[in-house]
């Protein structure tokens, strides 16, 4: 899956904005939004929040977890533990990128947050690489990856499944007399 498709899914998450215009309730296919009144916070999906921000029609309020102390705690815990710690939002990476790129003026200590999230991401990806390596070398048949986000899974997903499939093909071809019925793979 393309990273932009993971971002597409992340854009459905709700975030609070403060509009500077007024509009009655909107009845979208996916649910109702609004009504919008200047100065009053309202929850909208990220794709709409970003669009409104780009047209200078609102101010975005950072989500609760996008806070320096919280992220520092998470980063420390991630570095200490060998397993993956649960993180506050399943789309933390995408939301950080989207909100910091378009609304950094609405988010206090934006640069620090960017660094903290990147550090946490790097630690998690390093752990993921190690566990993928041991999965392959010990020829496991099953793995449980509860606390991984979609973006992290997607980063190694295609590579991991393709290589596991190749190894399976090589392994089954070693067994004599097995009817494969396969010819060339494009």
């Amino acid at each position: 899956m393309d990273p932009s498709e993971v971002e597409f899914l992340a854009e459905k998450e709700m975030v609070t904005i403060v509009p500077n215009f007024s509009l009655d309730k909107i009845y979208l296919i996916g649910g109702d939004l609004g009504p919008f009144n200047p100065g009053l916070p309202v929850a909208v999906p990220v794709w709409l929040a970003i669009n409104l921000k780009q047209r200078q029609k609102c101010r975005i309020i950072p989500p609760e977890w996008m806070d320096v102390e919280k992220l520092e705690e998470i980063r420390e815990q991630e570095r200490k533990e060998e397993t993956f710690t649960p993180i506050p939002n399943p789309y933390y990476m995408e939301l950080t990128k989207l909100l910091l790129n378009h609304a950094s003026d609405n988010i206090p200590k934006a640069d620090e947050i960017r660094t903290l999230v990147k550090d946490t991401w790097d630690t998690r990806i390093a752990k993921l690489r190690l566990s993928a390596d041991s999965f392959v070398s010990q020829q496991e048949a099953h793995a449980r990856l509860d606390n991984l986000t979609l973006m992290e899974i997607n980063t190694i997903g295609t590579f991991l499944t393709d290589s596991l499939n190749h190894m399976y093909k090589l392994r089954t071809n070693l067994q004599p007399g097995k009817e494969t019925g396969k010819s060339q793979d494009f």
Partner: protein, 221 residues
């Protein structure tokens, strides 16, 4: 408008499932992801596709009537674009798989029992048959007719790749399942059973969990 329920009729047992439009869109995204990550062509969900098309057309009609550039119309348009993207990506995945595995898919469709759900919509079936006919004609006219007469037959069922049901897939569990058998990789290992807890994510072979994907108990990610 969002309060109205969408009726979906199930052609096999004539039952009608009522879903809100929001649930419909969520369901569309679920089948989109399942189709994307599954190594084989999944059951045809034409009811969902038709309902989504209906919603989109309905919205388009309403938008046509609104004149000028309006904030509200813009928001509706953005949403319909997003839904349209998911729908076309879903249909594109299916077409890619049909093109890749066409002899096996047509075989499966021919041999399925009367009451079983179909894998192809009528349009997809016509597409698959045409693709088969075109491939055969192409091979004949480019190579086969120049071969000695006793070698002019080609068995597409043997020469086209079968979908690899033993591929590994990532999945998230939506309904708890007990005692799923995990087959061993090497000869030294023994098979063991695991329980799939709700909300957990796993990496395993597609073959064992294929029926769970069809029933909606797990979601491929």
């Amino acid at each position: 408008m969002a309060e109205s329920l969408v009726e979906m009729s199930d052609s096999e047992d004539e039952s009608q499932e009522l879903m809100t439009p929001a649930e419909l869109v969520t369901k569309l995204e679920e089948i989109w992801l399942n189709e994307k990550f599954s190594p084989e062509l999944l059951e045809n969900k034409s009811e969902i596709v038709e309902c989504v098309m209906e919603q989109l057309n309905h919205m388009e009609e309403n938008l046509q009537r609104v004149k000028g550039v309006d904030l509200r119309a813009g928001v509706h348009r953005m949403e319909t674009e997003r839904i349209r993207y998911v729908l076309s990506s879903y249909l594109r995945s299916r077409l890619q798989k049909i093109e890749k595995y066409f002899p096996h898919i047509l075989e499966k469709e021919k041999s399925r029992a009367e009451g079983d759900p179909s894998y192809l919509s009528p349009e997809e079936f016509a597409f698959a048959k045409e693709y088969l006919a075109n491939t055969e004609t192409y091979l004949k006219s480019v190579a086969l007719k120049h071969m000695p007469p006793n070698l002019q037959a080609v068995d597409l069922g043997k020469s086209v790749l079968k979908p690899n049901l033993d591929s590994f897939v990532f999945l998230r569990v939506k309904q708890r399942q007990d005692n799923i058998l995990v087959e061993p990789e090497t000869d030294e290992q023994r098979e063991y059973a695991i329980d799939l807890e709700e909300g957990s994510q796993h990496l395993m072979r597609y073959r064992t969990i294929a029926p769970l994907v069809a029933s909606g108990a797990v979601q491929l990610i």
